[in-house]
């Protein structure tokens, strides 16, 4: 095995220009993957909190007795999809409205009765925050006795899911395309190296070398190109992160909240190694001994 490593590293040095070119190509490709992961990770962090803010307003019929309100409350509490419930009485609703209107609350002057309905503000569990579940839950609650109407932001629930799904799909497409590109780059490089060492390979075969013995240095070389490309991509991604959070955030403060996924430091070089080895393995193919 040490011989295979020795041959691989000698070849990496001897063919340094073609290898450097491959490392830079793999590095920049992996950088694009990193930026996609970086974007996805931060979007996940942001959208991850959105369901917690999603609430459903359940308006009660006017003049319900205290006992009836209690019945509604206990029925709602038993539901598996409810995360949080808050009762807002008619008076509290009016108080909130006045606070919201602030300077223009004079428009409420002259009202003899409180026109607002008592309500429950209901927060759903994270898994139920999607358009289909929210519509089903709202429909069920609407049929309950004492309920006047149910309001929820259908568009928001749909938008959250659509945004997440779209970003995930686009990221997957970008990842697969770039990964294919990395495999192709290492494939081409190793194919060239393989042809340059054709004579050496023929000699190895005549001396009784097995396919594994001949292949090993090429796989190591492909893996090393992937690893170095991965390290380069990680350095590039980290430099990008520093530039965005420390420099650009002076102009756009929200960028300060961006987080660098720590797993990338290991995942990226590892991805490089795997893709590099796959590219090399395809390049060598089946050896005729």
């Amino acid at each position: 095995m040490s011989y295979s490593f020795k041959v691989a590293f000698k070849s990496l040095y001897r063919e340094k220009w073609i290898n450097l070119l491959s490392i830079f190509t793999v590095g920049s490709s992996l950088l694009i993957i990193t930026l996609t992961v970086f974007f996805l990770y931060n979007l996940e962090l942001i959208t991850g909190h959105l369901p917690e803010r999603f609430s459903m307003m359940i308006y009660l019929k006017d003049n319900l007795a205290q006992e009836e309100v209690q019945n509604v409350l206990s029925t709602l509490r038993k539901r598996p999809d409810v995360a949080k419930l808050k009762y807002i009485s008619k008076d509290e609703a009016l108080k909130e409205l006045k606070e919201t209107l602030h300077d223009t609350n004079y428009i409420l002057e002259g009202l003899d009765d409180n026109p607002l309905a008592a309500s429950f503000e209901m927060r759903l569990k994270k898994d139920f925050v999607n358009a289909a579940s929210a519509a089903k839950i709202a429909g069920e609650i609407k049929k309950m006795p004492g309920i006047d109407s149910v309001y929820y932001g259908e568009k928001i629930a749909e938008a959250i899911n659509l945004l997440k799904r779209s970003v995930e799909n686009i990221s997957l497409i970008i990842f697969l395309t770039i990964a294919l590109g990395v495999v192709f780059v290492t494939y081409s490089t190793v194919k060239i190296l393989f042809y340059r060492r054709k004579e050496e390979i023929e000699i190895l075969k005549l001396l009784g070398a097995t396919g594994g013995f001949i292949r090993a240095p090429f796989l190591i070389e492909g893996g090393a190109i992937g690893l170095m490309g991965g390290v380069l991509g990680t350095i590039g991604a980290f430099a990008f992160y520093i530039a965005v959070t420390y420099r650009l955030s002076i102009v756009i403060p929200i960028l300060k909240t961006l987080v660098f996924p720590p797993g990338l430091l290991i995942a990226l070089p590892l991805t490089g190694i795997i893709l590099g080895i796959i590219g090399s393995a395809i390049a060598i193919g089946r050896l005729r001994l």
Partner: protein, 220 residues
């Protein structure tokens, strides 16, 4: 043991070897002679499966080449040491690594590889060139390196294709002496040469090849 049974080899419509029958006993040393183009190199190539016979069977140390699977070829070649006519040294490796390659392919431990390689280089009087690269060596030196690589793993069978073609008469006789030493230790050896001086007075079997056919046999 090497056995050829009715072996023929054709290139396109040209017959290179015709109905060859040979039996070399285990531990025997034999010479194969004949003019250029007689088929000597092809006959050797058939033994390490660089060429496949079109007709007949070949047995090398109980291995039937005809029924051999592709995956068994490396095993066969690891049992055979070959001195190639064109040396087949790897340009990017130094002399030491070129010779050591035969052991590394066989998975010999590195410490043992170093000792055996030094020993083999000593046998061909080229230990001082261990760090040199093939292109800086003369034809004769490259040939001796090729010999060192063929003998370093102490193969069961040693095949040599014109092993003294680039050597002066004195060095050539040294190499033949080296082969005879190996033979006395039990290695089966077959040497293809058109140089009659190499086998004269050896008392070894000489097989005569001409136009692809075995035309005679004598003692050297």
């Amino acid at each position: 043991m090497i056995i050829f049974q009715n072996v023929s080899k054709y290139y396109d419509f040209h017959t290179v070897l015709r109905n060859i029958n040979i039996s070399i006993q285990k531990g025997e040393m034999a010479f194969l002679t004949g003019p250029s183009g007689a088929g000597k190199s092809t006959l050797l190539k058939l033994m390490y499966m660089a060429e496949i016979p079109d007709e007949g069977n070949i047995l090398i140390e109980d291995l039937d080449i005809g029924s051999m699977k592709m995956s068994q070829i490396p095993l066969l070649r690891r049992n055979i040491g070959v001195v190639f006519q064109d040396f087949k040294l790897i340009r990017n490796l130094n002399i030491f690594d070129n010779v050591a390659l035969a052991l590394r392919i066989r998975g010999v431990a590195e410490k043992e590889t170093k000792a055996l390689t030094s020993e083999a280089l000593k046998k061909v009087n080229l230990r001082h060139l261990a760090d040199s690269y093939p292109k800086s060596l003369s034809g004769g030196e490259q040939q001796r390196i090729s010999i060192a690589r063929a003998i370093v793993a102490e193969p069961l069978v040693l095949l040599a294709d014109e092993p003294t073609g680039n050597l002066d008469p004195g060095t050539a006789l040294d190499i033949i002496r080296l082969f005879r030493d190996l033979n006395s230790q039990g290695t089966t050896i077959m040497i293809a040469t058109h140089n009659r001086e190499l086998f004269r007075g050896t008392g070894k079997r000489v097989l005569k090849l001409d136009g692809g056919s075995l035309v005679g046999e004598e003692l050297g």
